[in-house]
Assembly symmetry: C3
Homo-oligomer: 170 residues x 3
């Protein structure tokens, strides 16, 4: 694996994608950067964030970046291993804030096209169920699918996690 | 790949399945037939259809076949590369029109068992989410799953697209 | 395949997971045990159960075990091929009965860690759709994902069924 390398870890809910992504990063020497996109808007989210945080011990620097992902990535140190967890929550934030989703995705794609260290991006696959009833959920699903395709195209390796196990896609 | 060959491309929403299916077909010399099952019943569908059409340039002949898929396939020229996009919309049409789903699937399966050229069928995988609340959605999911199994059993190759990338299943 | 072996067959709705699991078991000499977790609470479930039962001929002993899965497995004969179908319905039963889900999963995991014959566990993957609206469905999805990870970690082989076809995950 070269010094600059983009990995993309994709999976369903509770499929072990964060854990697998962490194992990729921690194979490199610390310190590692963790870019968290989650916003603790309710108790359920607070609990999930706390659980993920508890798993990461010393060696991790955590940055909370609900929106300015491209900017945050542009300013990380060259060579630093970075985990972005997760892209799908970032997309949710962008959509709920009524930002220009297409422009935001383009901006992010530009930065991810030239990783400056071993970067690992985590995202949810959300398109394998029944078509949702409401238009917002369908729009979200479409954006998430296109975003995943964009990142997967740029990535050097793509992993689908299933029941905690990695399946290589690329 | 022999002259008569059935490929089945299965994937989630916005997983790049149509694009992948097109790349299989266009590896053969033009002209190619595109059998479109979508009905432009609302603005959202019209937009999707227009987007897919815009990607296909000269060399494609497009047939709109919302219902009589078996019939349309029976009358395509021998040796002609054919893309059927997609089976899941066809199933939706058949169910909404209150036709005999099992009989329709049997009729289609019979034709797909003997492709007369390189044929590629596209379908959605819809069974990997939470069990839907309403009985119609559950029935749809069951029919779609059985239909996919039927086509996959007949197919010479089966591909699952994930984030725009092909995973070989068969 | 050694005499004591845990296989885990995971898949979406109507993806052929039960059929694939049965093919693993029936490669061993009869008699085979079938541990059914389904409760025939309504007509739809009765129909599904009857359909699965009709496929299994002589050679099968069927045990209905909606709740006490760990106990039932502890008392099966050593060396006996056992099919557990399915884990996700068992989880549903446990949650609806307001039992302690985490404790029940721990108890089951303990028994599955030491299979005493060729055992095959079937489960649904339910985490690859849009985040469900209601909190109970989200909790179910989380428990199901964690349960699947637990069983997959203990299993000697893990298969994802897609459109009736097996994909090896482990």
């Amino acid at each position: 694996m070269s010094a600059s390398h983009l990995s993309f870890v994709l999976g369903g809910a509770r499929s072990g994608k964060s854990r697998h992504a962490e194992s990729i990063i921690t194979a490199y020497p610390a310190p590692w950067s963790y870019i968290a996109t989650a916003q603790a808007l309710d108790g359920e989210m607070q609990e999930r964030i706390a659980e993920h945080r508890a798993r990461r011990d010393d060696g991790w620097e955590t940055l909370d970046v609900p929106f300015e992902l491209a900017g945050a990535l542009s300013s990380v140190e060259t060579g630093r291993p970075v985990l972005i967890d997760c892209l799908t929550l970032w997309l949710t934030n962008v959509m709920l804030a009524d930002r220009d989703v297409e422009a935001e995705i383009r901006g992010l794609a530009e930065v991810l096209a030239s990783p400056r260290g071993p970067w690992v991006v985590v995202a949810n696959e959300v398109g394998l169920g029944i078509v949702p009833d409401n238009a917002l959920a369908r729009a979200f699903r479409d954006h998430a699918g296109r975003l995943n395709q964009t990142v997967a195209a740029a990535a050097d390796s793509v992993i689908l996690t299933v029941a905690g196990l990695p399946m290589r896609v690329k």
